[in-house]
């Protein structure tokens, strides 16, 4: 970095994933795909009280975060749940903090053993 005073915070992939997950309709869509993958828009909108356009907009946010990947099969566009971004967040964030918890417990154990 040449200009330290001017710090740009880019929209990272993680930001898009967290934003995409911060909505109950989008989480519902992911749950539907988790139950069974490779669904059409028509199938996905069937149990939502929402216009087709509304569902498309939510799917677009999920696609931008790469949580949903589409694939053409014949005349149909199928939606697949992509678990990799959630795995990346797990590896980047969850592991980090759970590891710290484990090491805190290990520290406590050795402190207790020392004083025993």
């Amino acid at each position: 970095m040449t200009n330290q005073s001017h710090i740009l915070i880019p929209v990272t992939d993680d930001d898009r994933v967290f934003k995409a997950l911060a909505d109950p309709t989008r989480r519902h869509l992911l749950d539907r795909l988790f139950e069974r993958d490779g669904r059409t828009l028509t199938e996905l909108e069937s149990d939502l009280e929402m216009t087709r356009f509304g569902v498309m907009k939510h799917l677009r946010v999920l696609e931008d975060a790469s949580l949903v990947v589409t694939r053409r099969e014949g005349r149909e566009k199928l939606h697949f749940l992509n678990p990799v971004p959630i795995r990346l967040i797990h590896d980047r964030w969850i592991d980090k903090y759970t590891e710290r918890q484990v090491s805190a417990l290990t520290d406590l154990k050795s402190k207790l053993e020392e004083s025993a």
């Binding site: 992939d13 988790f34 139950e35 069974r36 993958d37 490779g38 790469s66 990947v69 694939r71 697949f80 992509n82 678990p83 990799v84 959630i86 795995r87 990346l88 590896d91």
Partner: protein
Amino acid sequence: MSTTTATNLSTTQVFRVYIKADQKAVWDAITDPEWNARYGYQARTEYELAPGGAYRVVSSPEMMSFGAPEVLIDGEILEVDPPKRLVQLWHANFDPDTIAEPATRLTWELVEKAPGMTEVTVTHELAGAPATAVFVSGEKGAEAGGGWSWILSDLKTLLETGASMND
């Protein structure tokens, strides 16, 4: 985790990751045993990069000590277009249930979305192979690693940081 997981899985699974590396570097990390033994399950993977060529994932000495077969996964190359596309057959020999299943079809697609930024898509067609589907989805949990999600996450980590999560 529910016991009916396998029946819920689609016959096709799609995995996608974006890696800050050019197409050629990602291609090499997938197909060159010097690279592919460094991330994920860290098993050396040999590709004969021509249609009809062999594909073999070889167990590490540690895996063999746990009773894994010498050739963990085998298959056949169907289509090669370096550094963009690779289609192959994929058959897992590490479990009695997967051994009994037919070979599955695996497609790697690499697209350079921007200079030095590659989109990697793995499409695994798993018709007639529900046991294999459970393993590659990562739903088996810790005892079997995390399937493709974990492999791709570690591939990204290795190419972007120079070190695997295993290191």
